[in-house]
């Protein structure tokens, strides 16, 4: 699964996370895609906008809902060299959240900067 197998092509992949975790499985299964794309040595960025910012909120505790708590995986991304995590400022503010509520270090972007980021990638996937 090395880059050689893909003819040395390195593309810029942007994963746009717009959905809350748990209510639907998209956030969890999207994370599985992100991890795989790292194994392909692609240039990976993650954007958290709208309800996607809820994915990386601290203190998720799934004991009583019996669901799988996948939030620790976001902390593990660094180990896969996935370090470009972008969060939209306006999305945080609308939800009464600040950077201190998040469980991973991120770069906070304005909506305009987020729009620029979306334009600068080869493959944009939104789950």
């Amino acid at each position: 699964m090395s880059e050689e197998m893909q003819g040395g092509i390195i593309k810029k992949f942007l994963y746009v996370n717009r959905r809350a975790p748990y209510g639907t499985i998209y956030a969890l299964e999207s994370l599985e895609v992100v991890l795989i794309s790292a194994a392909f040595e692609q240039d990976v960025s993650l954007a958290f906008i709208d309800d996607g910012v809820y994915e990386i909120v601290k203190g998720q505790d799934t004991k009583a809902s019996e669901m799988k708590n996948f939030s620790p995986t976001y902390r593990a991304l660094e180990g896969y060299d996935i370090e470009k995590l972008y969060v939209e400022k306006e999305s945080l503010a609308e939800r009464g959240l600040t950077e201190a509520d998040l469980l991973v270090p991120v770069k906070v972007l304005s909506r305009g900067e987020m729009a620029d980021l979306m334009e600068s990638n080869d493959v944009v996937l939104s789950f």
């Binding site: 748990y22 209510g23 639907t24 499985i25 809902s65 019996e66 669901m67 799988k68």
Partner: protein, 130 residues
């Protein structure tokens, strides 16, 4: 009190199935009677015995089947919704000329009338969905 439960979404993709299961279990623990659990729309997928979730995750079909066995629950999968989506029991597979079936223990396939009956006979009908 006599309650019925409606499950409109499939396992894992939506939390609806989890919510319905935990609600049903809590109602039974409180001594209420569950007249029926009816699976409609993508809810029919809860009843496939072919699912193999990751080891560290809940097994949604088994959980339903075990609850049904323990409490003699009536788990009914809508036939029209099931046919469209590929959920068959042995009879249906034979009738449709299919070489396999996938229904799980404790589930039965029947008509939509069973949902209306669940609404009529139970004192409350509680729906979970997308």
């Amino acid at each position: 009190m006599k309650l019925s439960v409606l499950v409109n979404e499939g396992p894992y993709t939506h939390q609806a199935s989890d919510s319905a299961y935990l609600f049903t279990k809590a109602a039974l623990e409180k001594g209420h009677e569950i007249f029926r659990v009816f699976f409609y729309h993508d809810g029919v997928y809860n009843g496939t015995r072919l699912m193999v979730p990751p080891q560290d995750d809940r097994h949604i079909q088994k959980r339903w089947s075990e609850l049904a066995e323990k409490h003699k629950l009536d788990l009914v999968v809508c036939i029209a919704a099931a046919q469209r989506r590929g959920l068959l029991d042995e009879n249906e597979a034979k009738r449709q000329g299919k070489d396999a079936n996938n229904i799980a223990p404790g589930f039965r396939i029947s008509g939509l009338g069973q949902l209306i009956e669940a609404g009529i006979q139970a004192e409350r009908l509680v729906a979970f969905g997308d």
